[in-house]
Subunit: 255 residues, 2 copies
Amino acid sequence: MPPMRNIKLTIAYDGTEFSGWQKQINAPTIQGEIEKRLELVTNSSPVTLHGAGRTDAGVHALAMVANFHSISSIILPQLHRALNSMLPMAIRILAAEEVSQDFHARFSVRSKTYIYKIETGAIQSPIHRLYQVHIPSSLSIEKMEACLNLLSGTHDFASFEAAGSRDKSITTGRGSIRTLQKAELSKTNANSFEFSFTGDGFLRHMVRNIMGTILDVGKGRTSLVDFKKIIQAKDRSAAGVTAPAHGLFLQTIRY
Amino acid sequence: MPPMRNIKLTIAYDGTEFSGWQKQINAPTIQGEIEKRLELVTNSSPVTLHGAGRTDAGVHALAMVANFHSISSIILPQLHRALNSMLPMAIRILAAEEVSQDFHARFSVRSKTYIYKIETGAIQSPIHRLYQVHIPSSLSIEKMEACLNLLSGTHDFASFEAAGSRDKSITTGRGSIRTLQKAELSKTNANSFEFSFTGDGFLRHMVRNIMGTILDVGKGRTSLVDFKKIIQAKDRSAAGVTAPAHGLFLQTIRY
């Protein structure tokens, strides 16, 4: 029998038209679209693609990582080209590499960076509407940066975890405790902001729930004192709404 | 009878889902979508919206200008808000202003600027695919800049005019002679280029036909000597293909 290969894919996608990463019956998903083409390219079925994590419907990725096992002898450049020629343009394979057997796209993750894009100003440019969330209010950068400082480091992020959604296989042992190594805000032009979060792991909806709450502080609806209390409450109902999916990008994954 | 008002609209749109500016039966167009809402907002029918020009299917605009006449007494901020609340998010009214009776969005134009966006590199980011044209080749900036220098100034641009498409009402007297006050190229990041063309008028498909031909020079398929001959030929069949619509943006119009 031919040797089993472990192949790592780096994937960019526009999440607008997909029901998220994870395969579903009767809904287009990133995992589903790629697995279907992998089965054709490697001439075997089923192929299971292990993603570094799941992104929600509408969330984008600049460099998602996933791996799959195959006994196919197809050379990597051919696999790479064939996948891109068959996939919709909204999904692009950026790289295909052979990795050691012990590499697992999810379990081997050391850290991930997500970015979240906001556009202020009274009217949003139609060109940005699919990739930036429009907030037609003025936002206090100072206060939002203070929130990011409060979130940096190791905390129990239960207040920002989607209710009843824990995937026990990932979080065993650490509950909702995570470490944010970096939580930053930068102005990308006169009306645009980019939030960046780097951490050792993210709970379901964590970035979007943090963003919903930080934007309340930026608008002056929630005070910094209350923001601190929200973290300490360890209770989802204490925090703000889940911010929209289309401002969120999985940017990089480190192994 | 209430006085006739002349109202100027500044409009941004994502052209992806539209069959261009000009109204058509059974196809969504920018003019058609806005006129339909203007009739509701001003409570009169028909309303004719005069655009500064027509953009083709798939072409975007950052600041198209149009005007219409109305006896409606609706105040401008209300008209502005009502239009945006009814229009699809892909079309945004950036400003609504009352102007003098002699203003005409098309005939009063002094100059227009179009930009054309290109992304090189082997694989295009899916996030850019609707707004930049992907050229997976390396391009000679030097040679493309030389083309732009040859195009600057007053020329007969017949080689870059869509065959059989002259709108006599616009071009009376000057045929296919136009003046490009500016034709520039800038690098917007490692893999992205932006071409910018400012002129007193543009023939149908002129920027896209120029771009198709310049890209042939950038790729090394057409020499600079031949590019010069193409201009001098004054014959559409001498030039390159029409570059795709989705890289083109109507950027600004000066009056």
